[in-house]
Structure formats: structure tokens, C-alpha cells
């Protein structure tokens, strides 16, 4: 269980690092005006980083639900 938690946290940290790196690589401020800032590498890193974050948060929530279920059984 501890190993799974460490993997989840590792994925979360990796996602945060990628997203922050992508944010600084992408020039200009965030804008809702089309097309907004464009940078292939930066935006790809932001998207991948946020993907890792979403998956890691999902795994943490599912793991927490599992621990709660086993505790109440």
C-alpha cells in the first residue's frame, strides 16, 4: 500500500514539474482570445503534466476509498 502511495505521489510531483516547466516555456500570458499563446513544446508539457496530475489525483482518491472500505469492513 505504501509503495502504491509513493508511486501516486511521484506521478503527481512529475506532473506538477512538467506543467510548471511548460508554463514557463510558453511565452505570453494565458488568454481566452483565439489563438492565445502558441508553443509546441511548452503546451505539450503543460498538457502532459496536467494529465499526470489528473491521473495521480484519481489514483489517490481511489486508494483512499479502498482504505476506507477495508477499515469499515
Amino acid at each position: 500500500m505504501m509503495r502504491a502511495l509513493m508511486i501516486d505521489l511521484g506521478l503527481l510531483v512529475l506532473g506538477i514539474i512538467l506543467a510548471i516547466a511548460g508554463w514557463f516555456l510558453t511565452p505570453g500570458a494565458a488568454s481566452f482570445q483565439f489563438p492565445g499563446p502558441i508553443n509546441v513544446a511548452g503546451q505539450s508539457l503543460i498538457a502532459l503534466g496536467l494529465t499526470f496530475i489528473v491521473v495521480a489525483v484519481g489514483l489517490l482518491l481511489a486508494g483512499a476509498a479502498e482504505r476506507m472500505m477495508s477499515a469499515t469492513e
Partner: protein, 168 residues
């Protein structure tokens, strides 16, 4: 619905906006005007959310049980395993969206307008490697969008095992 709304917020984190409502509305109504009308957005939104419900039903009734039978580690019906199945289904739909829906439908319909009057580098490239002014970041943003949908589905869909024998 969660993923659909999140796609509209993507420019807030410097990503291309993923407005599937408008894209679906354009396809359904043949609307090539810029910006698209609110009718296009609403009709497309209804289509897209119906799509999402149908794909979720297919997941619940077919994909999730079949994955449990075909892949042994995915047999236990625990929250983590259900989440993994949701992520797999989200990934499969990302591939379908990027390889087929976006280039073959949106690209064929909207591509000539994007590359013609707007002078953008491309319409919708193969496997979403470009989308209007964007390059391969559109593909990864599409992955992010589908992971939001898959994680949401996997966390919400937690079926209980039947009291007797499981019959799939």
C-alpha cells in the same frame, strides 16, 4: 459534462480551447461562420453530452466487464481497478477521437476554411498532429481532456459484485 466544461477553460492554463460543443454543432448544422452562433453551441452541447452518456453506458455494460474477464489483474472490482478501467477507456476514446473523429470529420468539414480564408498552417492533421494554428500540443491536450473524462468515469462507476456467482 465535467470534461466538456473543463475543455472550455483550457486557455486559462495556456492550452488550446477544446470546445467540442461548437465542433459538434458545426458538424450537425453545417455552420461555418466565425464565431459560431449560440444555437450551434447549444445543439452541439446536447449532441456531445449525449455522446458522453452513450460512451459511458458502453463502458459500464460492455468494456468494464470484458476488461475484467480478458485482463486478469483487472478482475477485482475495487475502486483502483475501476479507475484503471476508466483510464483505459478514456485512452481508447482519445485514440478514436484523434485518429478518426477529428481528422476525418472536423478536418474534412472545417479544414478548408481554416487553411483558406484564415490562412492557418493546417486544418486538422493526421492523428491530430496539427489543428489550425496548433501543432502536436493539440494531440496532448486531447489526451488531457479524455483523461479527465476517463478518471471521472472510473471514480464514479463502482459496481458491486453480485451476491452469488458473477456471470459476465
Amino acid at each position: 459534462m465535467l470534461a466538456t466544461v473543463t475543455g472550455l477553460w483550457f486557455p486559462g492554463v495556456k492550452l488550446p480551447q477544446f470546445d467540442f460543443n461548437t465542433l459538434n454543432g458545426r458538424l450537425a448544422l453545417g455552420d461555418l461562420s466565425f464565431p459560431a452562433s449560440s444555437t450551434t453551441f447549444i445543439v452541439g452541447g446536447i449532441i456531445h453530452m449525449t455522446d458522453g452518456i452513450i460512451w459511458a453506458l458502453i463502458f459500464g455494460l460492455i468494456i468494464s466487464p470484458v476488461l475484467g474477464v480478458v485482463i486478469k489483474p483487472l478482475r477485482p472490482m475495487t475502486p483502483t481497478v475501476n479507475l484503471m478501467k476508466g483510464i483505459i477507456w478514456g485512452g481508447a476514446l482519445w485514440i478514436i477521437s484523434s485518429a478518426l473523429w477529428m481528422p476525418l470529420l472536423i478536418g474534412a468539414f472545417l479544414g478548408p476554411t481554416l487553411t483558406g480564408p484564415f490562412g492557418l498552417p493546417c486544418g486538422v492533421g493526421p492523428f491530430l498532429t496539427c489543428f489550425g494554428p496548433y501543432g502536436v500540443q493539440a494531440l496532448f491536450t486531447n489526451l488531457f481532456w479524455h483523461m479527465i473524462w476517463g478518471v471521472n468515469l472510473g471514480l464514479l462507476f463502482n459496481p458491486m459484485r453480485a451476491a452469488g456467482r458473477v456471470r459476465w
